[in-house]
């Protein structure tokens, strides 16, 4: 933004002051996340920069926390659990959520508002209440502290995201395409896989990503429903923070930040592709 020529001194000061304030806020948003990256290479078991680190002395840096992380059975188990539970929950919620979104976006759908309200309720109800309810219910049907219990719980929490993203994709969907396919003799299944699916795929994939992230990052339900065997990465970090606080969690955090950067990129690319496919001008 260049400054208009008619700006007075006061306008100019405000112009710069505003930008300084904005960048301070951006700094507030990013700095806490980024500061953990150098700290995770600390050679000392502290959560702060040592003198060696500040003088860029190589002695101050080490990979010991990454080694700790990689050699720890409980951390490795938590990674496996996070992926197993996350992927299983994503498959359940993406399948059910996509089907439901297809039904919800049909004009013949009765009681649309009520059903939509029920389907997205897992996103609205505070997690502690969902977790408490599931804790009692899953204990009563003997699936508390099992993988099945955690997967079902996470699938329920992830479906609203799939329903919302896929429904949003279907808003711009041209129904005459499916009619044309039917007219040309395609069966409904064939129409779905050949016409509908490729077009709504970006929405489905980003819904699935949201569902996966929801499970991958979820901790409250895990605290209540999972046993020791099902501990996920956030659950292990929770213990790490509460019990033996060591820079290992910073190493884990750094890896997770890198994963979220990768996911962010994927979602952004999908969004652009989706807009291009639906003929919306990328802004």
């Amino acid at each position: 933004m260049s400054m208009p020529a008619y700006y007075t001194t006061k306008d100019k000061i405000w112009h710069y002051a505003f930008r300084v304030i904005c960048f301070a806020i951006f700094f507030f948003l990013l700095a806490p996340i980024l500061i953990m990256i150098p700290l995770s290479f600390n050679a000392q078991p502290f959560f702060t920069f040592t003198r060696e680190m500040l003088t860029l002395n190589p002695e101050g840096y080490s990979l010991r926390w990454y080694r700790d992380f990689l050699e720890s059975d409980s951390w490795m188990r938590s990674i496996r659990n996070s992926f197993v539970i996350g992927i299983a929950a994503t498959i359940v919620s993406t399948t059910l959520g996509t089907l439901a979104a297809l039904g919800l976006s049909r004009s013949e759908m009765p009681a649309k508002g009520l059903i939509m309200g029920i389907l997205i309720s897992p996103m609205i109800v505070p997690l502690i209440i969902s977790a408490a309810g599931m804790f009692f219910f899953f204990s009563s049907i003997n699936i508390a502290q099992t993988y099945l219990g955690v997967v079902l719980a996470h699938a329920a929490l992830g479906t609203p995201f799939v329903v919302i993203t896929v429904t949003a994709t279907l808003v711009g969907f041209d129904q005459s395409l499916t009619r044309a396919a039917a007219n040309l003799g395609a069966s409904p299944t064939r129409t779905f896989f050949k016409i509908t699916m490729p077009l709504i795929l970006p929405g489905v994939i980003s819904g699935a990503l949201f569902a996966f992230i929801t499970s991958f990052d979820e901790i409250v339900v895990v605290l209540f429903v999972a046993g020791v065997e099902q501990r996920t990465i956030p659950r292990e970090m929770w213990s790490g923070i509460r019990e033996d606080i060591s820079p290992t969690i910073l190493a884990v955090a750094t890896i997770l930040v890198l994963i979220s950067i990768a996911l962010l990129t994927v979602v952004e690319l999908l969004r652009r592709r989706g807009e291009r496919l639906r003929g919306l001008t990328p802004q």
Binding site: I33, T48, G103, R106, E108, I213, L223, L264
Partner: protein, 430 residues
């Protein structure tokens, strides 16, 4: 085309109604087709609806039921309750009541260990009167040897049996449904006449905690607004290329694990953390003057503002993008000062975004559990932490359910408001 229309003569039945090619009336065929399509739509939604109702809605309804469900006394002491029906609750109950109590307890001991009702009874009464559980368990040990007069035998076994209060509680809670968990959740209790009165000040917990939860959530919402408004505005006036780039600063925290962000703030804010060390390092404070930035309300507010800021920026930004810059220029060319133009022309147009972001942040923060639990210490605790404590530690599930139901109703009302303001469909992520 014209010829085709001319030659087309539709099939009709004797009363002139249109027929399809297989001879059914067109109206009926259409109805059937519409019904089939409606069923198809329902069939597509049915699996998820069933899944959510079974594994999400039902468990929550079941949990809320616990806040009024009260079977323990009714199950354990049917005979005693029968006798107590005519008791006025002023003095100790008559000898028949003790005899009935004896009969109830002896009968219960005949049951299979897993079906006994005395254990749950002790736990239930203990919520209302501490020591009631030990009175029950100590009495149970030798109740089978009791002989008449039973009142004496019971009072010898535990002094609480000579306390009218315990009997009043047994009578009051001898109904299958109770309001006493809600009474406790509102910091009230029953007095001698069965009226609901305020608890003494030193036992007032939950109303204050609800108040604090609301106050903290309001503070967090205000902070996210103060920080979110400038950057949303800045992003909205930048050319798209730069805006998308800077948007990463908002989206990266959004996509980063909650636990990572919370531990980042622990690293920064603790006494030996980065911020305090830096302040000591540059000599701004001395070593004894380190700030307590964490494990208190300050910590909760800072960390949660950071975590929820994207939820404020994203709706604000999407509203601000749609405000045409020409309006501000028009206001200025009509003689408004920049601040007047902003206040009277620009700001009112951002209100839908402020409403959406504000309600969203507020809804999320009043139910927040993890961050207050990790960085809140004692003074930064919120209502969710108390619910979790009652489920996991004090095991008073009825009270937890009552507190949870009140929180849930609050959130649903707010969500309804949010829906009226913006519509749930406008929720977008990323």
């Amino acid at each position: 085309m014209a010829d085709a229309t001319m030659q087309y003569s539709p099939d009709t039945d004797s009363r002139g109604r249109l027929l399809t090619s297989d001879g059914t009336p067109l109206r009926r065929a259409l109805e059937r087709a519409n019904r089939r399509r409606k069923l198809t739509a329902l069939a597509l939604v049915a699996p998820l609806l069933f899944f959510i109702l079974t594994f999400f809605a039902f468990p929550i309804a079941q949990m809320m039921w616990r806040s009024v469900d009260n079977p323990q006394v009714v199950n354990a002491l049917p005979r005693t309750l029968e006798v107590l029906r005519d008791w006025d609750g002023r003095d100790l109950p008559p000898e028949e009541a003790y005899a009935a109590l004896h009969a109830d307890m002896v009968a219960d001991l005949q049951l299979d260990r897993r079906e006994r009702n005395i254990g749950p009874l002790g736990i239930r009464l203990n919520y209302e009167l501490s020591a009631a559980r030990s009175a029950i368990s100590r009495t149970t040990r030798n109740v089978e040897d009791f002989e008449a007069p039973y009142s004496e035998a019971f009072m010898n076994a535990h002094r609480l049996w000579g306390d009218v209060e315990l009997w009043r509680i047994i009578k009051r809670e001898g109904r299958p449904l109770t309001l006493s968990y809600y009474v406790a959740a509102l910091d009230r209790e029953y007095d001698e006449d069965g009226n609901i009165v305020k608890r003494p000040d030193n036992r007032q917990i939950y109303v204050n905690l609800f108040g604090r939860t609301l106050a903290l959530s309001l503070a967090i919402t205000a902070m996210t607004f103060l920080l979110g408004f400038p950057i949303a505005y800045y992003l909205s006036i930048l050319p798209m290329r730069y805006a998308n780039l800077l948007m990463i600063a908002v989206l990266l925290p959004f996509w980063t694990s909650l636990l990572v962000r919370t531990s980042a703030w622990i690293v920064l804010l603790q006494q030996q953390g980065v911020i305090n060390n830096a302040l000591v390092g540059i000599g701004l404070i001395n070593d004894d003057g380190r700030f307590s930035l964490i494990y208190n309300q300050t910590g909760t507010i800072i960390a949660m503002t950071h975590i929820l800021l994207p939820f404020m920026v994203l709706p604000l930004y999407s509203v601000m993008r749609t405000i045409p810059p020409s309006y501000m220029r028009a206001a200025k060319s009509l003689g408004a000062t920049p601040s007047t133009a902003f206040r009277r022309v620009y700001f009112p147009q951002t209100l839908p975004g402020i409403g959406a972001g504000g309600v969203l942040v507020f809804i999320i923060s009043i139910g927040y559990y993890i961050t207050p639990a990790l960085v809140g210490g004692q003074s930064g605790r919120m209502i969710s932490n108390e619910i979790a404590r009652h489920i996991q530690q004090s095991l008073n599930w009825g009270l937890a359910a009552a507190l949870g139901s009140m929180l849930l109703v609050g959130v649903l009302v707010l969500y309804w408001l949010y829906n009226r303001l913006v519509g749930a469909d406008s929720l977008k992520f990323g």
